[in-house]
Assembly symmetry: C2
Homo-oligomer: 346 residues x 2
């Protein structure tokens, strides 16, 4: 059985989204069971209402507190020791669950996960990775998306290792290509950290493509794109902002007058197909990588469908042995670097 702990209280919607989503995924995957963490009476009521096909796939785990979207990280970590977030991660720590999922406050979720689970051997900084749809019909795995604002070249190498392992296990790409986000493709471009990271990546056994630029994320030039968390977060938010603007402009234009509304009726099936292709819900579920456990972050505003996607990503990460792949990559690359250093000093 694959066991997933859910912070049922987290996110903009909480129980009305998290519990029905779990019930749907449980019906689809009989090999998966869920630890539903939260205020026990409320979770029980939500579970009853969602009518699980097989109640044996669910266990309610009590937590007496809830981390809100506005709680400062420090408050979430130090004052709310019995929060549904904390209890969900602890289920992974104590091997009651193989993965945990929350749609709550990203900063708090990262801080609590890191505090409870600790980082893997050989990983200094955990990172946040998400799959962004690209023009090839696939996705580009981009990290870090905001966990680390000041990164060294070694950190970028760690992100590459973790991103490759995620792409291998969850996206089933055999030997994923890695791009280093930069402001030009030439090796002389960029700041010192990026230049040094490129050297480390070239010396590693990863499938390093070279520098890529912002538009390569959408061209799908490489399977994985690595950047520091400041850049990654700004890119992610910019792209979300542009998508929203374009969506609302298309709606505006079709709602302008009776003629445009009639045109909209004709075009609706086509526009719906287009919307499905760019629907970010299909790629919900960022991975918090580098921790001693599978931790997934759902978008805060996720609806039931989007939340099922995040739960399935958590399931897939466990089934495809994300953690084992990451640690064996870290080990291989650190041995490789050590042996090169020994050669060069010999």
């Amino acid at each position: 059985m694959i066991r997933i702990a859910i912070d049922c209280m987290g996110g903009d919607h909480g129980l009305p989204v998290t519990v029905p989503a779990a019930v749907q995924v449980a019906a689809k995957f009989p090999d998966t069971c869920f630890l539903l963490v939260g205020l026990p009476d409320q979770v029980a009521a939500a579970l009853k209402q969602a009518r699980p096909a097989n109640p044996a796939q669910f266990e309610i785990v009590a937590a007496s507190e809830v981390v809100t979207m506005d709680d400062p990280v420090d408050m979430a970590l130090r004052k709310k020791k019995d929060s549904s977030m904390r209890v969900a991660v602890t289920c992974v720590k104590e091997d009651r669950a193989d993965a945990c999922v929350s749609a709550g406050n990203t900063g708090a979720w990262m801080a609590i996960s890191r505090y409870v689970l600790k980082t893997m051997d050989g990983i200094d900084r955990p990172a946040i990775a998400a799959a962004i749809p690209n023009q090839r019909g696939g996705t580009t795995t981009v990290l870090d998306l905001g966990a680390n604002v000041d990164c060294s070249a070694e950190h970028l190498l760690e992100f590459a290792i973790m991103g490759a392992a995620l792409s291998q296990s969850v996206e089933h790409i055999e030997n994923p290509t890695i791009g280093l986000l930069n402001i030009g493709q030439e090796a002389i471009k960029g700041n010192d950290v990026v230049k040094e990271a490129a050297e480390l990546l070239r010396a590693s056994n990863l499938n390093f493509y070279g520098n890529v630029e912002g538009d390569d994320i959408f061209k799908g030039t490489t399977n994985v794109v690595v950047c520091d968390g400041f850049v990654g977060n700004v890119v992610l938010k910019s792209v979300e902002g542009l998508s929203k603007m374009i969506g609302s402009m298309i709606r505006d234009e079709f709602m302008r007058n009776p003629f445009t509304m009639a045109a909209g009726l004709f075009a609706r099936p086509v526009l719906n197909r287009f919307r499905n292709r760019v629907d970010s819900r299909n790629h919900n579920g960022a991975a918090l990588l580098g921790l001693r456990g599978v931790v997934i972050k759902s978008h805060g505003s996720a609806d039931i469908y989007a939340y099922t996607v995040a739960l399935e990503r958590a399931r897939e990460a466990v089934a495809s042995k994300l953690l084992e792949k990451t640690s064996s990559s870290v080990l291989q690359i650190s041995q490789l670097i050590r042996s090169k250093n020994t050669e060069s000093s010999a």
Copy 2:
């Protein structure tokens, strides 16, 4: 008269775009004349073909070399001393022109402009600024878009001063609001440079709004958004990449089969209006700010229409006294900071 020097050879298309665009803008603005810089025979032929209404608005200025899109910056700067780029900037330096425009290689254009014109008093680093359309129907001025990969807090303050002056003069915004691009709105977010820049901005007499996130560029939360050139360039390219992907997906869906093509016919007027609203050609013409002269960079792939927009921006920057506004802001803010320092040390 407003006098604009054009590097007629620059860009993906060169003469067939630059010269007809100049002829169109000259017809619209009888107070404007153009120095057409390039290989003189070729420029003369292109001008003749474009049939200017008033040939007195044009002067051909000879240059014997051309900087290509792939020329390394160093080669463009040191080996091609009689390039059309270099001669166009020199027209500004020698006060034969009030502004210069090129669609060529950005790195070379910045390096040559900086070398020939030098930076303004009080400005350490020139920056590249562009207007990005936002949801309010206006534009957000974003800088730096790639001239500076490692910035200090003082550089970000300089960018804010220059961005505000550009927004005032070219966009006619009286007291533009300034946002500092960050990964959260709270003052505690971000790296040390950004935190320090926020303090400098708060201490200045600029209309500082506070931190903004990537999506605020498109929400139009502030008139100006300031960031370092690495982040700005990556955001710009990402946004271009996403726009292209969305455009090609919409086309794909409407071209799928005869039914969707018929729907596309009905929807075409609406989709065209939408396309006009997001058409990046309407905002062509990035400004290279902080130099002792007005320097505009057109997109390399600009067509005639897009190039006329860039020429009109150059004209507007001269007419609305961009340079004078920038230097007087720099002076005011440096006096303000000096007087605060005197107070605090007294």
